[in-house]
């Protein structure tokens, strides 16, 4: 491999340098029918799972086919998406906030041809490349983070837990039988890059062991004050440690009972790793939402404190998720979101019907929120 220059000259980095130009202007990327009718849409209808039609005030129609996709996508896959868009959609397409791909056409016939084309494309391993669905009162794609594919603090994998879950709930991706839409999100450590804290169901990676201290190297590779400052719960303090060889070195001590296993110290200091096969696993949360529809947005609540990592398909986790979805489908009223359903039936009933254990870990929230989570009425259900 020979180094190919882009034109950049490392001797003169400022020469011809272009900065601060931002993203491309959206106008260049709109399909014609979108450009023409922007701001003039009248209404829409979901014709069948994954197929939408939006009707403009002047009667123009745009048909959208929504397909799921793993957000970890190869260039080859994206090139195939481009081939499809070139063939059916005048070279335009879009992605949704939840990592779905949307192909748009301006006629029903084109949409039908597109649909047939998408439905037959599969990976060599057998999975669909472009499953159609993710609309209405069903389950759409899971938003997620990096996991073992690319991060240094995950307590589980993201892509794998998501694939395992989507396989299990796939029929609801292609159906609209639920009382309302159900959003699942995934984040691989408590930093929650994916902001999963307002999802109907959230999968969260969680560590349970404080960092291991590599005393011999710590002061050589880390700035002790920075490591100390990194800890949000002030669990870390500087200390002197005597090594096996009798040498005394500067290092840190961690007050284990204060640690909430966030990994911020490891981010700062490579001599404080914390991942651990037995310690790490999954937390499940439920009942959050972001829409203002009917009730106010709300946070998800912890419903399972810990499940071990079961590679490659996390069966205990997917089983618990599936059970929650089934009970919700059975018990909730039309338009009722997951969290509105749990509020109505009461959490004690939720744990009952979902056959989940209420353990002591689920009581006493972190800091101020704790008091607000206690029950302050004599009303409860047996």
């Amino acid at each position: 491999m020979a180094f190919i220059s882009s034109g950049y000259n490392p001797e003169k980095p400022m020469e011809g340098r272009i900065t601060d130009i931002g993203p491309k202007h959206y106008d260049q990327f709109y399909p014609e029918i979108i450009k023409k009718n922007k701001g003039k849409w009248s209404h829409h209808e979901i014709l069948e799972p994954g197929i939408l039609v939006h009707v403009a005030e002047n009667g123009d129609e745009v048909f959208t086919v929504r397909c799921g996709g793993a957000r970890l996508m190869s260039a080859s896959h994206i090139q195939e998406i481009c081939d499809i868009a070139d063939k059916h959609c005048d070279g335009k397409l879009r992605f949704t906030t939840r990592n779905n791909i949307e192909f748009m056409t301006d006629s029903k016939d084109k949409m039908l041809a597109l649909k047939a084309d998408l439905a037959q494309r599969k990976f060599d391993g057998g999975s669909y490349k472009f499953p159609i669905g993710g609309t209405g009162a069903g389950i759409t794609n899971i938003v997620h983070t990096q996991g073992w594919v690319h991060c240094h603090t995950p307590a589980t994998d993201a892509s794998g837990t998501v694939k395992a879950t989507m396989d299990e709930v796939f029929s609801d991706f292609q159906d609209m039988r639920l009382p309302a839409k159900l959003r699942i999100s995934m984040a691989c450590c408590l930093n929650m890059c994916g902001a999963v804290h307002c999802s109907d169901i959230a999968i969260l990676g969680y560590h349970r062991k404080p960092p291991i201290l590599d005393h011999e190297y710590l002061d050589k590779v880390c700035e002790v004050p920075l490591a100390v400052a990194a800890c949000p719960t002030a669990a870390i303090k500087p200390s002197k440690v005597e090594l096996a060889n009798g040498e005394t070195v500067k290092s840190v001590a961690v007050k284990n009972e204060r640690c909430m296993y966030c990994g911020n110290c490891y981010t700062m200091c490579p001599s404080m790793p914390l991942s651990d096969a037995e310690g790490d696993g999954i937390v499940l949360m439920a009942g959050g939402k972001v829409s203002n529809r009917i009730s106010a947005p709300k946070f998800s609540k912890v419903v399972v404190a810990f499940l071990p990592n079961e590679m490659p398909r996390w069966p205990t986790m997917t089983h618990a998720i599936k059970k929650m979805i089934e009970e919700y489908a059975k018990g909730a009223r039309k338009y009722e979101r997951f969290g509105d359903w749990t509020d109505r039936i009461g959490w004690e009933r939720f744990f009952d019907v979902c056959e989940l254990d209420f353990t002591h870990h689920l009581i006493d929230d972190f800091r101020d929120a704790a008091y607000q989570s206690w029950r302050q009425t004599s009303q409860f259900k047996f």
Partner: protein, 458 residues
């Protein structure tokens, strides 16, 4: 032939959902065969080694990545996440595997021309793997080496007119819902304002100067499709302050079943005949709707614009015409003290519906930007006064929401020149220990004990 055995990952190839494992293998294969004759600038076995490394994580249940240290492009404080593996000998092709955040276009519309160009660049100079998209919204190019960073940046900016996104303690790449481009519920042009603010604050986006990260997100209506209320320091939610439009003939068609409820979102189950009372009137959180003598009426003064009735009957009910945004501040994920939802700070900033000139109507982008500066002057004022406040008072790594808790909502409202109103609270305080300002109390706090004693014996 695959370079590494990956029995655990192979199990993730079956099942209907698109398999990321199959896709990585596909790219590994493309690189191995190299039919296009690409002179790969990072090891051609990057995808194979990523699979090998990932298989190892699946086997031993832990990550094999280390924090990345300082890598980036000259002059920018963000946009690149450094990453090294802790198994460089076994998996040399991914020993260094940095990601690049590329600023995504509005509502993530693309031309295939742009995507092909980007993918050509990425197959040449990176692993060929991406995230479409990262959680903030950026295109994430997953995995390259340090020497390629400037080269990629050069090609992006010179040949593709395309910039990096944000990371670190700066403005993160703003993101928007599909909005008016294809959604009849949108109360303002989310793409326009998102683009405008992204361009206006390029410096803040690329050069960390804030106490911590800061995010804008733009939802066209209270349905909140981009979840701005939960995950942006400043959330823009479209709304209106006049009447919901009602087309009585279309209402009748919902009642008789001609129009599908909720645009057909519930077609997967037989929920019985449409029941206006049960499905709309009784679910309206403010009970402000009535249906009498074949006529639907809404007491708009009491409506809180939750969107429910409009979602259920999109053909019959339309968002109002006097439109604008509500601004909510301080949302964040739980780290550290707990999650925060956005709190209402500006109930309604009207957006002038007559100012709808587009880029094409101007000679240059600069002129259009000036026009938008006028159109969104109110928004800019709020943003900048919030930033001034946060940069002055915020501690290092303190999100705006945490500062609001520490110093109180009143302080923020005061900084943005907003009079506190009942709509700012869910309920008034329950605890009467009010800290008065001295100048609010007639006569102030300096009193004379001798004067007091004239009237009160010791």
């Amino acid at each position: 032939m695959a370079k590494h055995n990956t029995p655990l990952l192979d199990e993730l190839e079956s099942g209907p959902w698109p398999s990321f494992v199959s896709d990585i293998k596909q790219e590994a294969d493309v690189r191995a065969k190299n039919e296009k004759g690409i002179d790969f600038q990072i090891p051609s076995e990057a995808c194979d080694d990523l699979l090998g490394l990932l298989e190892l994580s699946y086997k031993d249940g832990t990550t094999h990545w280390k924090h990345g240290g300082i890598v980036g492009v000259f002059g920018y404080g963000g946009g690149i996440i450094g990453r090294y593996s802790d198994k460089p000998k076994e998996f040399p092709a991914v020993a260094a595997f940095h990601t690049i955040r590329v600023s995504q276009p509005g509502a993530k519309y693309y031309t295939t021309e742009f995507l092909r160009q980007l993918m050509d660049l990425w197959q040449l100079r990176g692993s060929g793997l991406t995230n479409m998209h990262g959680s903030t919204g950026d295109i994430v190019l997953l995995g390259t080496t340090t020497p390629q960073l400037e080269e990629i940046f050069y090609t992006l900016t010179h040949d593709m007119d395309q910039d990096l996104g944000g990371s670190g303690s700066n403005l993160r790449t703003p993101a928007d819902c599909i909005g008016q481009s294809r959604c009849e519920y949108a109360c303002y042009d989310t793409q326009e304002i998102c683009y405008f603010l992204t361009m206006m604050y390029q410096d803040e986006l690329h050069r960390p100067a804030f106490p911590y990260k800061f995010k804008f997100k733009f939802d066209g209506c209270p349905n909140c499709c981009v979840a701005s209320i939960a995950r942006s320091d400043l959330s823009f939610i479209g709304t209106w302050r006049d009447q919901i439009g009602i087309d009585q003939a279309e209402v009748a068609k919902y009642i008789d079943g001609t129009n599908p409820a909720n645009a057909g979102a519930h077609k997967g189950r037989d929920w019985g005949a449409f029941d206006l009372d049960a499905e709309v009137l009784n679910l309206c959180p403010t009970e402000c709707m009535k249906y009498e003598d074949g006529k639907l009426t809404i007491n708009d003064k009491e409506c809180t614009r939750c969107m429910h009735c409009i979602n259920v009957m999109p053909k019959a009910l339309k968002i109002g015409k006097q439109r604008g945004v509500s601004l909510l501040a301080g949302a964040k994920a739980p780290i550290v003290d707990g999650a925060q939802m956005g709190s209402l700070i500006v109930p309604f900033l009207e957006i002038d519906q007559t100012m709808n000139k587009q880029l094409a109507d101007f000679e240059s982008e600069e002129e259009w930007m000036e026009y938008l500066e006028e159109k969104y002057a109110g928004v800019v004022e709020v943003i900048e006064s919030i930033w001034d406040y946060w940069m002055e008072e915020g501690k290092n790594r303190e999100r705006l929401g945490e500062l609001m808790i520490r110093q109180g909502l009143q302080k923020l409202l005061e900084k943005i020149g907003m009079e506190p109103q009942a709509v700012h609270v869910d309920h008034p305080r329950t605890n009467p220990y009010i800290f008065w300002k001295e100048d609010e109390v007639p006569g102030g706090w300096d009193r004379d004990i001798n004067e007091y004693r004239k009237h009160h014996a010791r």
